[in-house]
Amino acid sequence: MRSRTARPVTSIGTTRFSSRSTTGLTSKSNLTASHLSIGTDHDNQVNRENILFIYLDLQSQLLTHMITSLQEINDRVQTFNDPSICYDFLQTSTDRIFVICPIDDKDLVTAVHDLSVVEAIFILGSDTQIDRSQWTKVDGIYSNFEELLVGLREALEWFEQTQMNVFAFDRDRAFLRSQLWKEEVSLGF
């Protein structure tokens, strides 16, 4: 049984990253990290509704201190060097995902945009025009990392205010569970 004190995926990402692995090794480690987040049914339950930053780092430009900066905004950060592996991961994820990616491959961005698990996309690049009516999930285009951090912070705050909604309807188990728990734990609610 997986240890219940498991830490967020980020720590795996950071450890792996500092060893500066090649694309091949990175992919495998990504799979390990992915496995931790989607492995057992229990993990699915635990990770539901968590926000995950996914950084598609095709040029392997991401440095450790940049990951730390990302983690300061959101604990869970995962990086990928390979778009296909990243895309596969996105399809089975149960998290709510903010994707950071370059603009070079428009088909890739479109494919990622179409996945319901992706909540927002942050594009790295400059002087790029995009059609916001087509790509409603694109939060902005950022030409440098500092601006990206600002954009991420604002987007996350906005997201938590307006979209991070978890309602339990009275037919749901979650509703009954919360009311039973409330009665039982007697916190004076």
Partner: protein
Amino acid sequence: MKPTNIKVISNKEQLVSMAKEYYRDNPKLLQSINEFNRCYHQNDVFQWCFSSPFPSRLLHQALRTSHTEHLDQCRFLLADISYILRRSNQRQITRQLYRGMKLTNEVHNRLINHTGKLICLEGYFLWIKSKMTALKFASSSNHRTDLNPVLLKITCESSIPIGEISVKNSSTQIIFDLYTVFRVTHVNHGPVSVVRLELANEDGRSIAQGYRAKHKSESIQNLLDQLMTLPDPSVPIKRSLSSVKRSMAENKIR
């Protein structure tokens, strides 16, 4: 995995020790944990739980995701929030509170079809007094114009304990106690759907008590265990990126 372990003792020391391990690679959070460890006092619980990176992030994530291990550790915080809410004896007038949201079609439709019925919020939602500001959030054209703008509206009587949270750079926000139950009284359709709610805690209690009475022979721990939401067993159909790109190319040619 259990939905909760009722017998777990929850206190600051336990929480801090768990958190130091959980956030060991995150310097900013570690710093926040140390401050919390040094300075936490029940009187300041709102500040710690809604502004400070720790424990607010952990707490709200745990509530959203029903992360029961973390919730059990945070239970003393939930109790402190509840205590402070009840203690603040503000002379309240009946007021309207709002929350602007963008909901997926699925949740939006579910709410509409739930008129007359009960809902409960999985976490502390932040409400505001300004309808204008809430509408601005809901109908923002800068974000996700593909989602449905929804305005939640509650008419709140003076007898219900509420808490005022001052968040930096924005006006006061209001919270209700955890797992407060609401009834959806009416939904107005329009460019922004307006969902009217009223408080219905007593109805929530009746449901819980009724369920408990029906299953008298089972322990509360068992009942809670049984109610853990089972994960969706369906395996999503996966497509490779290259096949998706191929389809796109084919569609462009046509």
